[in-house]
Each structure stands twice: as C-alpha cells, then as structure tokens.
C-alpha cells in the first residue's frame, strides 16, 4: 500500500494493521479491524476509506462508494485519507473523482506543493489539459522549479494536439507554448535536455523548421545527448523538410562514412543527390560546399561513393556488411526509374543479386533483402527469371541424389540457402515442386505446397494436411507457425475444441490479444462452443480494460521524468487500443452471448440487460475512428504480401457485421426497456450508475421511439451488407478469415431477426389504439408471426444432415451445418424474447377484452383470431423447437456411431491409402479426425442444451 505518512503519528500506528490486512488480500479482516477502530475513533476518516477499499474488493461496490463519498464530502486534507481515496477511486475506475478530491485539498491548503502536484497528476490521468496547464503554473508560482513550468507548457501542447480545430492549435496553443519557452530561453533558465526536446516538439508542430534547425545546431542543441545521434537525426529530418539538399547530402555522406550499414542514410543520400541533380546544383567555387561539408551532386560521384564502400567491405576480414551491397542495387533501381543508362556502370542486376545470394544466402534475411529488388529482373521476362532461379538453385550445395531421387542439404547453412532459393523462386512465381523427406525443418516448404493444394478445395488434402501438421507438432512442440496453421485448419473445419489448447499454448500476451485474438473470437461462438467463446472474449476484454488504467499511470510518469515526446505517444497508444475493432467486437459479442445464454432463462431479459449496464440508446462504438489492429500477416507466406484491397474489404466486412451485431444487441436492450416495470432498481456499479445518470438525462427508460431509428439502421445496414456480399469477396486462404456475414444472409437469420424485432412496435401500436378499431393492424401482426415460424422452419431445414458425412467409406466434414445451427439458435433466442415481450403486452389487453365481453356479450372475431393466432404460433414454435432438439440428438448419435478407423481418406480408395501413407501418417490423420469428431459432439451438446432451455421457457409463455 502506498505511503503511510510519518511513523510518529499515532493514527498511523492504529491504521497499520488494516493496511497490512489489505496488502495481504485479507479484506474481511481489514473491514472488521476498520469497524473496530471506528467505534473508538469516530473521526478517523481514513479508517472509513480503508473499510471502503475492503468492501470494494469483496464486491460490495455500492457500500464502498457511499462510504467513500461520505469522507470525500468532508474534503479531507490528511495524507492517509487522500491517498487511500485515490487508490479506491482508481480501483473503481473513477479517476475523475480524484481531481475533485485534490481540488478541495488545495483550496484548503493553498501552499502545499504536494497537493498541487497530486492535483496536476489527477488531471493528467483524465486528460484535463487546460486545468493541467493552470495547475502547472500554480505549482511553479509556489515552488519555482523548471519541471513544473514545463509541465504547464506540455499541457498547452496537449491542448493543441487534442484540439478539434487545427487553426486554434496553430494560432493559439502552440504559439503560446512557444512564447513560454522563449521566455525561459531569454532568461537563460533552460536546464534540462527534456526542455530542449519540448522546444523542438513545439517548433516542429508549428512547422518552424528553420527555427528548429537553429535550436538543434546551436547551444541549446548541445543538451541533446541521451539519444545517440539525436542531433544528427533531427538535422537530417529538418534538412529534408527545408529541402536543404546540399546539407542533407553532406550529412548523409558523413554518417555513412561512419557507419556504412545504416540504411536510412543511403536513402537520404540518394534522395538529396537526385534532387541536387534535378536542380543542376553546383558547389561554390570557394569555401565549403555546405554547412555540413562536402556535397555529391553527380551520378558519377554517387557511383564512386558506393564503390568505395564496397571496396572497403571486400578487403575486410570480419564479416561483410549488407548495406553497401544493397545500396548498389538501390542506386541501380533509382537510375532505372529515371531512365538513366548510367546504371550499366554498376553491373547487371541479375549477376549482382546472384553474388549477393552467394555471399549472404545462408542468412535467413537474404530473402527479405532481395525481395525489394526483384523487380529489377523484369519479372515478366520468364526466361530471365528462370535463369536467375536456376543459378540460385545450382549454387545450393546439396548432397548426392538419394534413392528417392532427391538431393538433400548437408548442413543448416546449405539448408538455409535451399530455403532462400525456394522462397525466391516462389516469390518470382516459379513454383518448384521441391520435395523433401526426413528433414522436418523443411516443413515450411511442404506446408506451402499443401496449402497450395487447399486452395482448390480438395478435402482429402485437408485431412492429409492436418495429419502432417500434427506430426510436425509432435516433433517440434513449440513451433508457433505449425500451431497457427493447425488452428486455422481446425477452425475452417468447424472444430473449435482443439483450438482452445493450441491458442493457449501460443501464450499470447497483452497486445497479441488485440492483434491475433480474432483467430479465436471469430470462430468460438459461431461453431457453437459458447463456454469457450465467453472465455475468449474475457481474455481480450481483461487486457483492454487494464490498458486504460495502466496507460494513465505511465503518462504521469512521463511527466515526472520529462519524457515529453512520449506523452502524446502513450495517449495515441491508449486510443489505438480503445478504438480497436477487436475490442468493439468482443464487447458486443460478449454481451450478445450473455443474452443468448441467459436472458429469459435464469434471469429476465430486463435483468440481464441491466446487469451488463447496457445502454441501448447510446452507440458505444467509435465508428469513425475504428482501428483495425489485426495482424493479418501472422501466417508465413512467401507469396506477394496481402493486398491493400483485401485488407480494406475485410475491414469493411468486419465493420458491417459488427454494426449488425451491435444493432441487434441494442434492439434487444430496447426491448427490455419497453417492458412494463415502472421502477428500476438502483444500478449496481459506479459504471452502471454513470450510464444510469446518462440515461436519466435522456429520459428514463427506452421508448418505442428509440427502437424505430435503430430498426431503420438495421434495415439499411442489411441492405449494404447484401450489396457487399453480392460482390462475393474471396480472401487468400492465409489472409483474413471471412466474417459470419455471408452465411447469416444466406440462411435468412438476419432477415428473420429483423422481422421479429419489428413486431414489438406493432404490438405497442395495438396497445395504444385498442383492440376494437385495429383489425388491419391485427391482421398484420398475425402475418408477421406466421412468417416468423415459416422462416425459422426454413432455417432449421438448412441444418439437416450429418456433420461428418460418410459415403462409400469416405469422410467429408460439413461445418456449415454447424454454423447454420448456431444461427438458428441465436434467432430462436431473439424470437422468444420478442414473443415474451408481446405476450406481456397482449395479456392485459386480452383480459380487458374479456371483461368487456362479459358486459356486452359481443364478440370481436378479429381479436379472437389474432390472440388465437399468436397462441397458435407459440405452439408451433414449440413444435419447431422440439423438432430441432430431436434433430440435434439424431446428429449426435450418428456422429457417435461413426467408426473413423474404418474409413478411408476421402478421394482415395482404401487400398490406395495403405500404399500412400505410412503407418505414422495414418495415426496422425486419425488423431486429427478424432479431434474433429469430438469437437463436433461438444458443439452439438452445447447448442442442444441451450435449445432445450429455450424450449422450456417457451412452455411458460402464455397469452
């Protein structure tokens, strides 16, 4: 626990045991001890706060909050209470309350450096930049220390960065910040490197590059020492911006002489060189070429320079650097771009690249190095490309040709060369059927071939591939790439069960939950593994939530250590995670999942919605700033990189699907708000409370008026989605996985859910207009109900069949049946919520009608038929659900009865299988099949369970 003040204070002695209990996680004892202490010392506020911390940590958030507010209301000024409250508020995720706390404290003790500095940090935690600026200056006035002054300056910069209006940044915040620093410069009060860094940041943002250059090259610049080459790097950047090509060139040259392997300076050397040539720049006849020394301004000089660098590598005894060799290729590439014949002086690219391969081919990076320059081979010219690859292949030292006709590399260096040649050949489009046996390290290559086969949809290759990968994993149990590929194949086969272990063995950490979490969350729920799906969402959510708290702490540290340039970076990092597509997805899916699994089963829809503090009138997804943080290159591939178009399309598809899901969720939330309970219980958590405060501002519960626009959005989005899927996008096999969208549209679940969600509005209308005058409306409602059951029946029909289909002793997986089944269940959930809601609305109408009937002895035939129809539909729905449950049971038993060992592999007759595959291979393939079978069974069980529960709730539904 944080600082405990001075040891002399008797209160510290009294509080000590409570702190200790809290530190040891013994919250109950901490609460008891605090209560005991409070009996004796009623005014020992800190004890109250510590009790509140204990309560908070044992899940009693409401009590904790009330207690904390009691103490905060007294505006305490003792260290113990303030610090304890700070900790408590942080744990409650209410950092804004800390600012109130210290605002009161500095009001009461206006000269306290400590409280002022806590106030500044409290503002920093919530990003109140303007108040930070004032707090920083207030601090500086009390204690004139430089850091405080520059905290205030930095807060101005942050106001500039966060301002919506860029003009305001450039005309007000930044110039003000600049003047504040200039004042210190004039008074010669600049002390630290951080202060110069900040000055540079301000000038850079203002676009005052010339002034910035003056600072960096001047006396102040001498303070820039922590980072290596900090001054040089800054100068280079500024020369580029100012288009001072002579200085840029001279400095690049100087730095390359010092380090001939620093690639960025070759680039700036060439950039500046060609700019100088284009300007026909010539050096002055007398004096220095430039402020940075000698300038190169002709192609001949550049060629000479590169060749000198090469020559000094050639005579070196230590390992040669790659830089100069690659610089030669870069220069050729640039000369060719300009159509200059001078490139010939440097040599033939094919020959040079071949030599590079000879020199560096045993390094794994050889491929990535050369990839950049392959265009110099004129890839359309097949003969030249083939000749190149042939020469490469010949340069690989392989052993004698073995019995099977394959020559194998003798050591790892040769192996690496072999791999490099194969990769280059693949990248150039020359697919060599290089087969290798025995060497498991070559599995990369085999995989590529198998994957190639996969694209053509031959499923027997899929089983083989799974078998091979299982074998590979058995030999290299920590090979991440094999795990990823297995994971992908199992997912595509619809078998999620084995994926759970594979993913957890990848040991994904923090940011990886964001970058590769999609591999997990895309499939878990859609394949009917609800428990695993919840868990997968939780992993990600835990990371995202802790990020918000963590980053704030380090923003504060950056102020303390004067790492000003890191502050906007940390904030951008936090935003990047907060705006993550994956975050929005798991947030939405987690809540939907909870509703599917629970709402109207163990608790009412209303309670469920409340418990998750879902606020349907508020769209919590930052659509305009959504960040796609997925790592779509996580699979090894030597193909050309995933295209920008595919990335873009995938993001578009993901966003459409997310929009549909989020609208469904919010509509379900509205449905609960439409319910008939006038008084809501007090919200459970501070978070819920905040939402409740918000919703109170917007009017109490949701109204039909809230549903209407959401339904409109849902309809529009469905239209866009249909247009999108019409274009029929196919991503590369190792590219982004397609969303559930195409299938959701194809099996009709989206349309069915839309119809269902429209019903409550009509029923609401019926409620207002009364039963007597609404024949038309009633007929409409009846029709909608009717069409719902028809559509559901239709969906159920699309789930019929065996998940593992066996014909003629061959085995074929049909994962789409499983996915359809999950869509069916999800839709049933929505339909049942709606039905339950409608029956709740219709019930009082009906009873009032019956009363009337008693009086009047008239019968309204229409009304009777409507009620009857709704009731009838519920009965039919019940029949449908029983039918579905039975269907699933059948699928389960036929799956269980399946004897996989008796099967041959699809596409291959039994006898051939025996010949083709070794005993080992067959064992691995069998193991993979077993996993798929077991996973299907589990999915069927989970889906079946949920359907049975839903069927039970339907029974209790009567109108």
């Amino acid at each position: 626990m944080a600082a405990r003040g001075h040891v002399q204070d008797p209160n510290d002695r009294r509080l000590r045991p409570i702190y200790d209990y809290l530190d040891n996680g013994n919250n109950k004892m901490a609460i008891q001890q605090a209560e005991k202490l409070l009996k004796k010392h009623r005014d020992l506020h800190c004890a109250k706060v510590l009790k509140a911390i204990g309560l908070q940590r044992t899940g009693k958030q409401d009590e904790a909050f009330t207690l904390a507010q009691e103490v905060a209301g007294l505006e305490p000024t003792d260290d113990n209470s303030l610090q304890a409250l700070t900790i408590l508020y942080r744990e409650m995720h209410r950092p804004e309350l800390v600012t109130k706390l210290y605002e009161a404290a500095v009001r009461k003790v206006p000269t306290s450096e400590e409280y002022h500095s806590h106030l500044f940090m409290a503002y920093a935690r919530v990003g109140e930049y303007k108040k930070m600026q004032q707090a920083g200056m207030a601090l500086y006035k009390i204690v004139p220390k430089n850091p405080y002054y520059f905290w205030s300056v930095m807060s101005l910069v942050m106001q500039a960065i966060s301002a919506q209006d860029e003009k305001l940044s450039h005309t007000m915040f930044l110039p003000l910040a600049e003047r504040m620093v200039e004042k210190m410069v004039k008074e010669e009060k600049i002390e630290a490197e951080a202060e110069v860094q900040l000055y540079f940041m301000i000038l850079e943002r203002l676009g005052k590059y010339a002034e910035a250059l003056e600072v960096v090259r001047g006396q102040l610049g001498e303070k820039l020492t922590s980072e290596l080459q900090s001054r040089e790097n800054k100068c280079m950047f500024l020369y580029g911006r100012l288009e001072q090509w002579p200085e840029c060139n001279a400095l690049s040259r100087k730095l390359l002489l010092k380090n001939p392997d620093d690639w960025q300076f070759y680039l700036s050397y060439f950039d500046s060189l060609f700019n100088l040539i284009d300007q026909s720049w010539t050096p002055p006849e007398e004096g220095n070429h430039s402020a940075e020394g000698e300038v190169h301004c002709s192609v001949a000089q550049a060629i000479g320079f590169v060749e000198e660098r090469l020559a000094s590598e050639e005579v070196k005894e230590t390992r040669p650097l790659r830089g100069p060799y690659l610089a030669r290729l870069e220069l050729i590439s640039r000369l060719r771009q300009r159509g200059s014949p001078d490139e010939q002086q440097l040599g033939e690219p094919l020959e040079l690249m071949f030599q590079y391969f000879v020199k560096f081919g045993d390094k794994p990076c050889c491929f990535t190095d050369l990839k950049v320059f392959l265009h110099l081979l004129s890839p359309d010219h097949y003969v030249q490309v083939a000749a190149f690859v042939n020469r490469l292949t010949e340069a690989v030292p392989l052993g004698p040709v073995g019995e099977d006709g394959v020559a194998l590399p003798g050591d790892t260096r040769a192996l690496q060369r072999h791999l490099g040649a194969a990769q280059l050949s693949r990248c150039l489009g020359l697919q060599h059927a290089l087969s290798t046996d025995g060497k498991l390290a070559l599995i990369h290559e085999l995989r590529a071939h198998y994957r190639h086969g996969l694209q053509f949809g031959k499923e027997h290759v899929l089983w083989q591939c799974l078998g091979l990968l299982e074998e590979g994993l058995a030999h290299s149990p920590s090979n991440a790439q094999i795990k990823l590929l297995l994971l992908l194949l199992f997912c595509r086969l619809g078998a999620f069960e084995p994926v759970v272990d594979l993913y957890s063995s990848l040991d994904a950490k923090h940011v990886q939950h964001d970058t590769i979490g999609y591999l997990l969350t895309r499939y878990a729920e859609s394949l009917g593994q609800f428990a695993a799906a919840s868990q997968a969402c939780n992993f990600s959510l835990r990371f995202f939530h802790s990020n918000q708290k963590d980053t704030s702490e380090y923003i504060i540290q950056a102020y303390k250590y004067g790492a000003f340039e890191k502050i906007p970076e940390f904030i951008a990092f936090r935003n990047r995670l907060n705006n993550s597509l994956h975050f929005a997805q798991v947030r939405t899916e987690r809540m939907l999942l909870d509703l599917y699994l629970d709402a109207d089963i163990s608790s009412t829809l209303e309670e469920s919605v409340k418990n998750m503090s879902l606020c349907p009138e508020e769209d919590d997804i930052p659509w305009d700033s959504l960040r796609d943080n997925r790592d779509l290159d996580v699979f090894v591939s030597w193909n050309p990189k995933l295209s920008k178009e595919h990335r873009q399309l995938s993001l578009e598809e993901e966003s459409l699907w997310l929009r549909l899901r989020s609208l469904t969720l919010r509509l379900a939330g509205c449905l609960s708000g439409l319910c008939h309970s006038p008084q809501a219980p007090p919200p459970a958590t501070p978070h819920a409370q905040r939402n409740a405060e918000k919703s109170a501002e917007n009017g109490v519960a949701s109204k039909p008026a809230d549903m209407q626009p959401l339904l409109g959005q849902l309809e529009r989005t469905l239209g866009q989605a249909a247009q999108f899927t019409d274009k029929h996008q196919q991503y590369p096999f190792l590219g982004p996985p397609p969303t559930r969208l195409p299938q959701a549209l194809a099996n009709g679940s989206c349309q069915c859910q839309l119809v269902a969600l429209q019903l409550p509005l009509h029923v609401q209308e019926l409620e207002t207009s009364g039963l007597d005058q609404s024949a038309e409306l009633q007929a409409q409602i009846a029709n909608l109900f009717k069409s719902l059951t028809v559509q559901l029946q239709d969906m159920l029909n699309k789930c019929k069949g065996d998940l593992l289909e066996v014909t003629d002793g061959r085995c074929r997986a049909q994962p789409s049946l499983l996915e359809n089944l999950v869509f069916f269940v999800e839709t049933v959930c929505v339909v049942l919520w709606v039905s339950s809601h409608c029956s709740g609305t219709l019930r009082p109408l009906k009873s009032s009608l019956q009363k009337k009937k008693k009086k009047k002895k008239e019968t309204s035939t229409v009304t009777v038929s409507t009620s009857w129809l709704v009731w009838d539909r519920c009965t039919r729905l019940q029949t449908l659900l029983s039918q579905a449950v039975e269907q699933i049971q059948d699928q389960e038993s036929s799956l269980t009865a399946l004897k996989l060992e008796a099967l041959s592999l699809e596409g291959l007759p039994q006898a051939e299988v025996k010949d083709t595959f070794s005993c080992d291979e067959r064992t691995f393939i069998k193991a993979a099949m077993d996993k798929v079978q077991s996973s299907y069974l589990r999915s069927l069980q989970e889906v079946g369970d949920l359907l049975r529960k839903r069927a039970d709730t339907l029974k209790s539904l009567k109108i």
Binding site: S226, W263, R322, N479, A563, F570
Partner: protein, 183 residues
Amino acid sequence: MAYMTTLRGFNCDDLFKFNNMRLFPYPLALQYGIPFYLQYLAHWPEYFVVAEAPGGELMGYIMGKAEGSVAREEWHGHVTALSVAPEFRRLGLAAKLMEMLEEISERKGGFFVDLFVRVSNQVAVNMYKQLGYSVYRTVIEYYSASNGEPDEDAYDMRKALSRDTEKKSIIPLPHPVRPEDIE
C-alpha cells in the same frame, strides 16, 4: 520508406508488430507486461531501441536503464532485455545494439554496464564474453521456477566503461550472492 538496418527509438506502435513468428518456430517474444514497457519508455526512452527491416519488420530490440549510486561508483547502464528475431540472427545485430547501449552509458558517465543471464544459456554467455563482458558474480536462484523447471542461477556479467579507469567494477566477487543482496 523502408529501412534496411535502421536503429531508432522504440515506440508504442511497435508493440503491435510483435507477432514476428516468421520462418522460424520461436517468435520474437514480448516477455513482459505492457506496464513494464511503458515504464521504460517513460523513464529511459533513449535506452529502448529497435532495429527495423524492410516492410517494417522488427529485427530486434534492446531495452535498458541507468541506475546506481554515483558516490559509491556504482552508477551504471543495465541491459534489461536484448532480443533478435531468429531470421535476423548471425548478422551482428546484438553486438551493434549492445555497443549502442554502452555508448549511451558512457555519455551518462556510467562506471560499467551489467546484465543478468541464465547460467545455462551458454550461447548468450559466450556472446557477451566476446563482447568484452566477464562474470562479476553468480546470483543464486535469480530466475524463479516456471513451467515445471527449477529455479536457476544467474551470472551478473559486467564490462567496465572508460570512467572506471582501474576497472575496479569488474573484479569478480569470490562468493555467490543471493537475489535479496543485490540492488
């Protein structure tokens, strides 16, 4: 524009690029939690450097800090983490990153640079020896057990900087120490 072998300061966006599981089985690992990295970025940004390859792939990174008392001549640079992705090994990148960290520590007026390494990691120990480091002391059970493996000792390896003219800082201790005895 892509850089071939470019050293630059680590930034938060780099955290998103750590799925470098290419070519070889073992990914360039992010062994610590986010707060740990942010702490280093906030406190010692100059000591946190990445090497970048074409297409922006991370080749490797080094992370360190400056600590210790100047008065007791223990002010020094410390290597917290050094990692090079498998496909960029054997290029001398680790040496380059270490050299850089030493240079920064020189400028800060450090007396030496030190690092901890598992006693069993012979490859790393040899590499550091080649770079001029020597074992200063053994720290008993410095690495706690995980994944069923027992606790392991660490070597505390040091290299003197120019400020330590007599190379006093690297005279090996005769006895091993316990983790609680080191600062």
